[in-house]
Structures are given as C-alpha cells and as structure tokens.
Symmetry: C2
Subunit: 416 residues, 2 copies
C-alpha cells in the first residue's frame, strides 16, 4: 500500500485560531486514488521542528504533502527550510515571476519587493504554477520519495491538488484501488450495533476492516478494503455490507457515505417533492446544510429564520394566542410553524424547529436544550420534543440532525 | 514555556471522513492557561504507530493529550496500547463500572459484556469519570510527564477538559501567561500590510511575535507573547497593537479576535439597532453565523431564505416584474430584497444576498460566482457586485464574509 503523510505548517493551527480542514480534504482525495495517509502532523513555523517532522515522515511514507508557510511575510519560512533540508540554494524562477507580475497587473496593484521574492524557490525543485495565488507550489524528488510543498490557503491548495498533484501522483506510482462502504444508522448505541453485527464481523476476511464512528445519536459503519481488481473488491465489500444492513435494518438511515440532507434531497428529487424550513433556535443552520448541495433548488424552495415572536407570526402565521398561551418552545407553536411553512411557502414537506439553544433562556419547566421539532406534509404533522443539554453550538447541531432524521423517517414511512 | 502535544487516534481522520475540530479547541484552551502546543499528530488505530507517536511526543513535550480509540468496539485499542506502553496490566475500575451501570439504567437500556469492559483500565492510571459517556478518562504520570487519554466524542472531551483536565494541569504546573492580540483587516493584501507595518515589526522585542493570517479577502494580524506578569504583558503587547492599527487604520475592521458577525452584534446591541437577513445563494449561512452567538436575539430578529422566485416575492415583496426583467441575480432584485426585509421584518438594518453559487446556473453575462449584496438601513440602501469564482462552498463563505464586512462598514460610516 502506498503511504503518504500530510504536514501542516503554521502557528494558527497550534494555538487553535484555525481548524485544519485542509488535511481531511487532502486525505479523502488521496484515498480516492489509492494512497493511504499514515499520519497528519501539524507543526509551527519553526525551522528545526519542520525538519524533524519531515525527517520522521520520510521514514514512514513515500509521499509527503506539506501545506502552509509560503506567504510573503517574515513568519513564513517553509521554502527556506526546505532548501536547507535538501541542501539546495535558492534561485529566482522566471515563470513564477512573470505569473506574479501578471497577477498584480490584473488586479491593478503595485508590486513590492516581497512579492518579487515569491518567485524565489530552492534550486532543485520543480515549480508548479499556482493559478489562484502568488506562492508557487514546489515538487521535490528525494531518492524514492516525493515531497510537495503547497500554500495553506484552502482554495489555492484544492486547485493545485485537483489539477496538478493528484494527476502527477497517479502517473508516478502504480496505485491500488481503495474502497470504503459506509452505512449510516440512528437510534442505536455503538455497543448494541457491535453485538448485533458480531457474527458478520467475525466472518470478515482480514483484508476487510469494519469501523464504528459514533456522532450525536448516529453511528456510521464503515467497511474498508484495498486491492487491484476494482470490480471484485466492490462486489465483495458490498456483499458484506448487505449482511450488516440485514442484521440492523430498522436502524439503517442511509446506505451511503452521504450527509443526511443529501439523502433527503436525493429521495425528494426522485419523487418530485418540495421542502421548506421554519427555523427558530437552529437559526438557518438546517437551510445552510441543505443549500450546501448543488442542485438543491429543485427540492428546496426556501424558508424562514423566525427568531422573534413577530416574525413567527408574520412570516409563518403562528397565532399570537398560541405564543402567549404555550410559549415559543412548545408542541403547539412548532406545529403551527410547520403548517405555516407548508401553507405560506407552498411545499410538500416542511420542517420546523423551536428550542432553547442556551446558554440563557432556560426555565425549570423548559431547561436549556429543550427543543421541539415538527415535520409537516400535505397529510399531517408529527412533532417531537428533545432534550439536548446545555451547549449552544451542540444544541444547534443536534437539533438539525434530529430534524433531518425526522424528515427521512417521514419519507421512508411515506414510501411504505 | 510549558509544552503540550495532542495525539488524535482514529482512521476516520486519516481517510478524511471527519475533520479534526477537537485539536483546535483543545489548543485554544491550553493556550488560555499558559500551555503552548508544540505538535498535533493524527495516527490510525494501530498499536505500533500509536506507541511511536507517543514516544516521540514525550521527547518534545511534558503534557500529552490523547483523544479517541476508547469505544466499546474491536477497532478501538487505545487503552490496551497505553497499558503496553506503560508496561501495566489491566484492572476493572469499580467506580467506572457503577457509573456505566447507572448510565444504562438511566436510559433504560440493557447492558452487555462490551459495556462492562468499558470499566477496564490500565492498572497504574488515575481514572476520571466521564459524565457524558461510558468511556473513562485516564490520567498517567510518567516521570516528569503527564499523559491523558480522553474519548474523541467532542462534547465528552470538552466537558472533561473544562471540568477536570485543565484545572488539574493548572495545579500541577506553575504556568506563565500567554497573550495574543488579534487585529482583523480587510481589503488589503498581506504583502502590502507587511510593507506598511515593517517599521513597527522591526521594532518588536524578540519576545513578541507578529503573524499574518490571510483568509478570503481578510488578513488577521496576531501579536503573541508570554510572561509571568499578566498586566505588564498585556500593556506592552497592546501598545504595539496600537502602533500597528495606527499604520493601517483604514483597513482595520475589528481590533479583537472575534468573528465579524460578533463584532456587528456588539456594535448593534450597544446602539440598540436590529438586523434581519434576506438570503438567496448563501441559503441561511449568514443567519447561522449570527445565531451561533449567545444573546444575538436582542439584535437579530430573523430573516428569509428565499431560494425560489415565489418566496422572493411572497416573503420579501420583490416585484415579479423586477425578477423577470433583471433576473434574480441583479442590483434591482437584491435592493428590493434588502428593502423588503426592512419593511416586512421591521428592523433597522438588513442584508440581502443573491448570486450564482454554482456549479451550474452561470451564463456568459453572469458567470458562476457572480454575487449581488445589498445592505439597507432606514436611510437607504447600498448594493455591490462581487465575482467569487466557481466553487460552491467557497462562494457561500466569501459572500457571507463580504456581506458582513458591508454591514460593518455601514455601521462605521453611520457612526462618523
């Protein structure tokens, strides 16, 4: 199996100012072309530490992808460190200089000395032009290993990976095929799943690995294997996946590694159904999850973020008497919100959420984390209450997952 | 300076199925009590590799925090690996067993063998009860070093860190004070900032470090220092921060490490102003950013996610003739959306966004990435067009940042 490592350079990750989203994206892309990531390492902009991490990584893997530390400012030292590591001098790359010059011309900005120095690279590297920025991407051969240094700005890195690095890696190595099959379950604990699945798990050949990934009331089951015969591999893994599904059928939400809302969009698109949202405590998060996906507009028409009482009344038609009698976080209000969305936005389905996200606003009756969710269809409405604890962001996320699961259940029920 | 390292264990991060958000959160918390994170390492559920990572980490840092690999299923091996690493046997921890038993009783679920085994721990560790789950937290003294193993489920880890680990670390070591001061700038490139700030940067004492963090049209400037005298340290760093601000005043958005939307909420709350949103291509993302923040409801009343033409008309009062004559992505439509939000939601400010997020829907005239944004107040409306390229998620994020920056500019302008 061809192994890679990812090294991210920059203090911002180590002081927690920035979440490293690059590595997961890169790992997924590498996996898709048959390369396994052995380790991800985040280090600071410190020359000795970068060299230590690189030395260690080269002992474990043949491909090292480095991001970050290529900006024009003094704190960025990656390329000088690489020159030291490979024992190379620096040269000015003419193609990069021309690219940088054009870049500034296009945006009508003056160029200064530090911009020109962006064209300086270790003299033994292959330069790959960065179409979206001024920091060049640098490719080094080192014995049998390949080391690539890329900017840490996500969209510059993504473009370089897709257009340049992944195609070159595919050409450089004879790569196997890696296959993951994921099954999403809900409403069952990890240990009970494992008990139900023990028979199948014990029968798995050593080449196929089963993992359990729990998250906020859901557990993802993942079967992983690699090989050279793509057809055969898929067939074998999928057959075991079907055995797993058969054992825990009532808890299976989606037999695919897609997000809940994507599964909803797929089903509703096929059935030509439309959806709207009426959100209070989730504050637009459900709408955001849905609208992340290309093509969602054929299903999702829109919705309301009705934080204030007045907006619950004016946009969704919740009765003032309902709000005053039962409060915003109640079965009555969330039901009227869902029915109001169906009526006002003219959709086949709607989902409404009203709860106390916290940290304030809780009462003895309705503590922080109390959330009412309703799903309405043209036929009727189902409402449920949840109790999610006292962390605001987690309440928002758990509410969204519960709401999406309720829509999926309704769709599955509707199909029976 | 007291150094720590974070090791995350689990294949899900290395195959890119999960983004590691735990590490950034932990790093921020550690920093806040005067501990610097030297390295973050992600490794798979592999015994030898975990031991290699732990051995290397112990050479660089005195505190090692490990997350993940503590579930009840076969793929989770962290505690057995730790027992091997520390050369310890396993024992059944009675307090944990009681906790696990009560946990299952409370949720009315049967307990199975694998749940009971959650109470098994390496016999030389101190067990810290995990109030939110069944996997115990384990604390090991190893010579002068401290190694802690925690579950990877974010809210279990966060609770343990806040309630147990951070207080114990503060007690175990005499920690200095770490101070970061962040200044957010917009509409100026990193290299030009550096040129303007060169004089101040050169005058910084070696104990104060300046970093530039660019992201989607913004650059964060961060001054960092550590010391024992908190007052003195803050005074010194803040004085340099003021020198930086003075040099690039027109580009400074916020003099604090807070999100744009939080800066808006703070200003509007103080001035008793209200805000609503009217989103098309951002699909609720701006509303979500705002409603992440506790206390937002005194400023933010709500908004519309108007994806379909019909909803732009019915919720926001955009004229059908405007949509047919100019299209949804136009100055006219976005202006009517913003004014409609002010009128229908009765707020002092509103922001409206309409664009082509992609990947489909672009034309020669209006390619993917074309986004119109309008900010309305009781006095009038300002609209601008942007061109953000062809990545959907990035378009959504850049649109939101541009919209929030326009609100802040309007607020700053209003104050003049």
């Amino acid at each position: 199996m061809m192994l890679a490592e990812i090294i991210t350079i920059g203090d911002e990750i180590l002081i927690g100012q920035v979440v490293d989203t690059n590595s997961a994206w890169m790992a997924k892309e590498l996996n898709a072309i048959g390369i396994k990531v052995k380790q991800i390492t985040s280090v600071s902009d410190d020359e000795d530490h970068i060299i230590e991490a690189l030395t260690a990584a080269e002992k474990r893997a043949r491909i090292i992808l480095i991001t970050g530390g290529l900006g024009p400012t003094k704190d960025d030292i990656t390329k000088f460190t690489l020159a030291r590591y490979f024992n190379m001098g620096m040269r000015r790359d003419e193609a990069t200089l021309e690219h940088v010059t054009n870049f500034f011309k296009r945006y009508n900005r003056p160029m200064i000395e530090s911009n020109i120095r962006q064209a300086d690279v270790p003299d033994g590297c292959t330069v790959i032009l960065n179409q979206n920025g001024t920091a060049p991407c640098m490719w080094f051969g080192h014995g049998d290993n390949i080391i690539v240094s890329m900017p840490g700005v996500p969209f510059e890195m993504m473009y370089l990976m897709e257009e340049e690095i992944l195609p070159r890696l595919k050409k450089a190595f004879d790569l196997p095929f890696i296959y993951h099959k994921t099954i999403l379950t809900a409403n069952i604990g990890e240990s009970f799943l494992a008990q139900e699945l023990a028979g199948v798990e014990d029968s798995l050949p050593p080449s196929i690995k089963l993992a359990y990934l729990p998250k906020l009331g859901q557990v993802r089951l993942r079967l992983s294997a690699s090989g050279t015969d793509e057809e055969q591999l898929k067939k074998e893994v999928d057959a075991y996946a079907q055995q797993l599904v058969a054992k825990v059928k009532p808890f299976v939400v989606v037999e695919d590694d897609i997000a809940l809302e994507k599964a909803i969009l797929n089903i509703m698109k096929e059935r030509k159904l439309t959806l709207s949202t009426a959100e209070s405590c989730t504050g637009g998060y459900i709408a955001h999850l849905i609208t992340q996906h290309p093509g969602c507009s054929s299903v999702y028409l829109g919705g309301a973020v009705a934080y204030a009482y007045e907006l619950k009344e004016s946009i969704l038609g919740v009765k003032a008497s309902t709000l005053s009698e039962f409060g915003a976080v109640s079965e009555q209000t969330v039901t009227e919100m869902a029915l109001g969305a169906i009526a006002h936005f003219n959709t086949d389905y709607s989902v409404a959420v009203s709860g106390i996200a916290g940290p304030d606003g809780g009462t003895d009756d309705k503590p922080v984390g109390t959330v009412w969710i309703a799903v309405a269809t043209r036929k009727g409405v189902t409402a449920k209450v949840f109790s999610f604890g006292n962390r605001r962001l987690q309440n928002i996320e758990r509410s969204a997952i519960a709401a999406l699961t309720m829509i999926l259940n309704e769709l599955n029920h509707d199909a029976d």
